[in-house]
């Protein structure tokens, strides 16, 4: 619509956009090179724009580590079980709330939405989990945040937009509400289910605080916590104990910088690989979320 003259202003805009993107791409690229570098290069530091020398020893050490695998297992367990069960129960509650004839619907909506604005806080929530005997269980990673009020409101709005007539014909055919929900409503709601499922899955994958406070058994640590212990607490103990078991790794080529970088890549690999494909679902999801209830 406007002449495509490449003015000075436009050049500045393009330059700034490239600069921002470059800061993100370079950060990952540098880290990737770091993870592939032998220790004499990794400890010297500086910006690594290309791999000066390549070694896979950092990765061999990380992959040979028992806690990384346990972390993967635990993260996958909590992500799979958490996403599926939370999605189902959130949708089921949202379906009930979408029915205008459900008794005290306004009250129940308020009952749920209120928790978005006010909470008991860290300590009382911790004490509930503790008193229920959930410390050191997988349940403590899933149950405390089981149903998100926000997701439920979004799903309720979606269900409300579905035509009531479909359900009426099913009711006449003798189907119960639960059957209508599982066999009619859920298949009709794939777009919203996919969006919320992705939110839940990424949330579980990235979640770390609940494990930090509820789990002390290190065989139940998730990837984020294993990573946190290696990187932030700086405890190399996790990696050191495996050194004995993993003789293949050459001590001279492994450095703490390289190991940390390799850990970051190993833990974020699924997100980095999957992200380009699911990105558009998230963008759609934001638009759904911005619709008001």
């Amino acid at each position: 619509m406007i002449a495509k003259r490449f003015s000075a202003g436009k050049a500045v805009i393009y330059f700034l956009l490239v600069l921002l993107s470059a800061s993100i791409v370079l950060a990952f690229w540098h880290l990737l090179n770091l993870s592939l570098s032998p220790s004499h290069i990794a400890t010297k530091g500086g910006l690594l724009l290309y791999p000066r020398e390549m070694t896979l020893d950092n990765y061999a050490r990380v992959i040979g580590n028992r806690y990384i695998w346990l972390g993967y297992k635990n993260t996958l367990i909590r992500t799979a079980i958490g996403t599926v069960t939370q999605l189902f129960f959130t949708a089921m509650g949202a379906y009930v709330l979408s029915k205008r004839f459900f008794p005290h619907r306004t009250f129940w909506t308020f009952f749920i939405v209120f928790t978005m604005f006010f909470s008991g806080g860290l300590i009382p929530s911790y004490l509930v989990v503790k008193n229920l005997g959930l410390l050191d269980t997988y349940a403590s990673m899933i149950l405390p945040g089981f149903i998100s009020a926000y997701n439920m409101v979004i799903m309720r709005n979606y269900f409300q937009s579905l035509p009531e007539e479909i359900e009426e014909s099913c009711l006449i055919d003798g189907a119960g509400r639960f059957r209508i929900f599982t066999q009619i409503i859920l298949p009709l709601s794939k777009p919203i289910l996919a969006t919320v499922a992705l939110w839940l899955a990424v949330g579980h994958w990235n979640s770390w605080f609940d494990v930090l406070i509820y789990i002390s058994d290190d065989t139940k640590f998730t990837l984020q916590i294993v990573l946190r212990r290696i990187i932030i607490t700086g405890s190399k103990e996790i990696l050191d104990t495996s050194a004995a078991a993993n003789a293949a790794a050459n001590e001279a080529t492994v450095s703490s910088e390289g190991l940390k970088a390799a850990c970051i890549f190993v833990t974020t690999l699924p997100i980095l690989c999957g992200y380009p494909f699911v990105q558009k679902f998230f963008v759609k999801g934001i638009m759904i979320g911005s619709l008001k209830g």
Binding site: M92, H104, F117
Partner: protein, 324 residues
């Protein structure tokens, strides 16, 4: 008999109490739906409302052995609050929370708007898509991962950022971004923008996409430049979204970003980086001062609650419809 009595329909003639009790029959009539809703109620009661009740330990001398109900009330009732307010680290955490949130509002809030406006000027679709894909990415990584990245990139000894500053910009000393009180807040602001600017721009981009192209055509015919179009068409069209988002950001000013601060800070920068949430965590779960930490948490939550409710009301009035 007054005239108003005749206006009441037959259904409404019942006693209000009776009508209220009658409404419970609906649960039996829609028994399947009631059963389907039951897990939701159980969840919210157990994990949301019971903890709200647990707040009473802020007014007690909570002892684990005696339990929440068995522990004695504190003397005076607000003893935990008074004790907390008198520690110098509490005042520091409030100041830091407001300072960090304020700076994030000042710099972090306009950033996605500027990014959206810049992306709107891009005429090459593939270039635009690429920039969007890249800038959205950090949003999907946890602060644990990003803290690991920044720790390496910003290291004063062999970090890439200091290397660039010294070699390209000829700076003499390396900067300890994460361990120096002069730089820590700035580092928080910049890394927060770096993580979220792309993702937050989506909402503004969508609003821009919804602007009637006729407006631009008419303006161009009248001889308006791109800059004039931005100033007189795009920005006014974005204004309602900007105002609502701004008000909502003000509402969450008590949240300075626990995940970020907790993973990036260390004892050297408590002076400028210790926020209320990290304070509650350290005192509560670290030192097991449950009652004190709950009191501080309650202090924060009440202020945050009032702020959110008030700002939502304002947002609702301005936009005609709030977020909820």
């Amino acid at each position: 008999m007054s005239a108003s009595d005749f206006r009441i329909g037959p259904r409404n003639r019942q006693n209000p109490l009776l009508r209220f009790l009658r409404s419970f029959v609906g649960y039996k009539r829609h028994l399947t739906l009631t059963l389907m809703f039951l897990p939701v109620v159980v969840y919210f009661v157990t994990f949301k409302y019971v903890p709200m009740g647990g707040i009473i330990i802020a007014f007690k001398d909570y002892k684990i052995k005696q339990g929440i109900l068995g522990s004695a009330w504190s003397q005076p009732l607000f003893a935990n609050f008074i004790k907390a307010f008198n520690t110098p680290t509490f005042a520091r955490s409030v100041t830091n929370t407001l300072a960090i949130s304020g700076l994030k509002l000042l710099f972090g809030f306009p950033a996605p708007i500027i990014l959206a406006l810049m992306l709107n000027e891009v005429v090459h679709e593939r270039f635009k898509k690429a920039i969007q894909t890249i800038t959205y990415l950090p949003h999907f990584l946890s602060w644990v991962v990003l803290a690991g990245m920044f720790q390496q990139l910003l290291s004063p000894n062999n970090g890439a950022v200091n290397a660039v500053l010294q070699r390209v910009f000829r700076m003499k000393d390396s900067i300890y971004f994460l361990g120096d009180n002069r730089y820590f807040r700035g580092t928080l602001i910049v890394t927060d923008i770096w993580k979220n600017v792309g993702w937050s721009s989506i909402l503004y981009l969508a609003t821009i996409a919804g602007i009637d192209p006729m407006l631009y055509e008419a303006a161009t015919v009248d001889g308006a430049t791109r800059l004039q179009c931005t100033r007189h068409i795009t920005l006014p069209s974005l204004a309602p979204t900007i105002v609502v988002m701004l008000i909502l950001s003000v509402g969450s000013i008590m949240d300075a970003g626990f995940d970020q601060v907790f993973n990036l800070y260390n004892t050297a920068v408590y002076q400028t980086g210790d926020i209320i949430d990290t304070y509650v965590y350290r005192y509560g779960l670290g030192d097991m001062k449950y009652s004190l930490a709950t009191a501080v948490g309650l202090f924060k939550n009440v202020i945050a609650f009032v702020l959110v409710v008030v700002t939502n009301m304002i947002a609702k009035r301005i936009s005609g419809s709030g977020i909820w």
